[in-house]
Symmetry: C2
Subunit: 380 residues, 2 copies
Amino acid sequence: MSQTIKSQQQPPLELQAGRECPAVNSNDGHKSRVAVIGSGNWGTVAAKLIASNTLKLPSFHDEVRMWVFEETLPTGEKLTDVINKTNENVKYLPGIKLGKNIVADPDLENAVKDANMLVFVTPHQFMEGICKRLVGKIKEGAEAISLIKGMEVKTEGPCMISSLISNQLMINCCVLMGANIANDIAVEKLSEATIGYREKGEIAEKWAQLFSTPYFMVSAVEDVEGVELCGTLKNVVAIAAGLVDGLEMGNNTKAAIMRIGLREMKTFSKLLFPSVKDSTFFESCGVGDLITTCLGGRNRKVSEAFARNGGRRSFDDLEAEMLQGQKLQGVSTARDIYGVLRHRGWLELFPLFSTVHEISTCRLPPSAIVKYNLQKPVLT
Amino acid sequence: MSQTIKSQQQPPLELQAGRECPAVNSNDGHKSRVAVIGSGNWGTVAAKLIASNTLKLPSFHDEVRMWVFEETLPTGEKLTDVINKTNENVKYLPGIKLGKNIVADPDLENAVKDANMLVFVTPHQFMEGICKRLVGKIKEGAEAISLIKGMEVKTEGPCMISSLISNQLMINCCVLMGANIANDIAVEKLSEATIGYREKGEIAEKWAQLFSTPYFMVSAVEDVEGVELCGTLKNVVAIAAGLVDGLEMGNNTKAAIMRIGLREMKTFSKLLFPSVKDSTFFESCGVGDLITTCLGGRNRKVSEAFARNGGRRSFDDLEAEMLQGQKLQGVSTARDIYGVLRHRGWLELFPLFSTVHEISTCRLPPSAIVKYNLQKPVLT
């Protein structure tokens, strides 16, 4: 069951009632300080959301410190200098004004040292290195949240980014996932997200306050693993949906494939983590993100091209041509999941997941996506 | 939890093993006879599916009798004569060959008199009249299934078609719903459906055998009301999705609206019928049909046009222009649901359902679909 947390956009009661404003700065020592670790497209939008809220919420310091992997722009300027001067991430979110209370910081340790709320939003492959650098450097009692999608899934099971953060830094770590295309949120189009938390509901509520706006609706569920797995597994279903598009099978078949994919996401997550809840898959992180990813998204797009070419051009080849250096996570996740399924003897329970891998490695033709035996009973 | 019923496309074991074929006709008295009441687009496809299976399944008579509302074609021929001569429903499913074992019958009473399995698939507004004509005319112990979507929802609650059939004819009635576009299934594109049954699982299994093919996958859940309500409520969500398309808000917002719509479908169904199961909404009748309807479908299409016109042309007007006489169910269902919500004091629990009605009656502009307070807590 989800806990919908109301937006805190209203001024506090004292202000509403026309009473004198209390000295909001008198209690600065107890205010939470936020650091955002990462400044790509999604990281910058997350910082923008957060910075709009820290200005309004009396329990937070206004300033949001954003760690930026320093780059020198073609103009010769440093990216952090430009962000701090123009309040715009000209490289990863051009054209969008960020709050003036966002401070870009090229020094990772400095960015986090005073923060008691840490938002991780970097490419997943950098997290191991970042965690190592942060050991012993973060504030006691700090809380973390991971916005990072696309964990690796090894034969022995998935390497949850939230666990990596928790274990390396010895802190509690929530996750935030959902149907959220950064550029759409940047221009304040209606969107949703799901927070997954472990036990500490009051922390989830605090994170929800920090992210919620009238156009970005955040719910929280007590299911870190379920929420986090959705963010990775959906990419495999997007490959399947793209194949259906490329085969021009129509919306009816595409809906069937998406639904079966959602079922396999749920079954796989529950087999790996018995604590995972069915209801999580009704949240934005589940069905919402799946729909977004299967309608748009790069996994779907490249997979459609793969099917249109009858599987004669490889995914690697198409990825290089179509994605300008971005990586296709669905194919590698399908491969990793296939390893888990084979290792555990579960291949027959996951016809869609395994067929996606067999198609992407050219062991089956693209048309196999609508021909395998989906009738097989699946534990639900 | 769904019960996936295996397709019965394989020959029976005796045949597989190369043994002599048993005298399959020796037991004709115990074989089930199927009648399909209705011969529109979906009815004809359903008859085709069934007729392909009765030939293969020894427990069914080959012949499938299909009641056809008789029409005289422009050529002067009777529709039933043409269907029986050409094995094609030239009016409602042109270009598709039906099984030779389908017999079109213009006489309703004659079509059903020997049948012990009755498949109802007419427009919903005709069912009351048809049931009245059938009282006392059907075989004792007959079983029914309704494929009819779009029940009416009156202030005191929905008028379930399955209940109408059950109560009028004093027979058990299952339902079959799902993401199924008749023309796609006619050309054997992969598709799914969900059977909702009450108590008698063995009957659900028999219906599933009768409908399942390798390209039409049928599951069964013990939840008649949940399955049947999905088939009607999804049309309201499709109106909302069409508005998002017309407003050009993108996939992210559309996914959010579809997800919130699915949540309201679930909540509404459970408030009306506490027996309704969450898991039903993961089935083809739930999330599957919702996706199909919100990607294609006439409700979505007309609603998109409504938003593009800024609400200046009414739904009635656009319907008349765009649908060539077909009716838009989403708008009238939204109106009916609004009546229930107001009557029961539930308006605040269903911001999406109520906003769709307020937009379609021009009390709110189309853009309200992404502006109302979706944060309101919803019982789940």
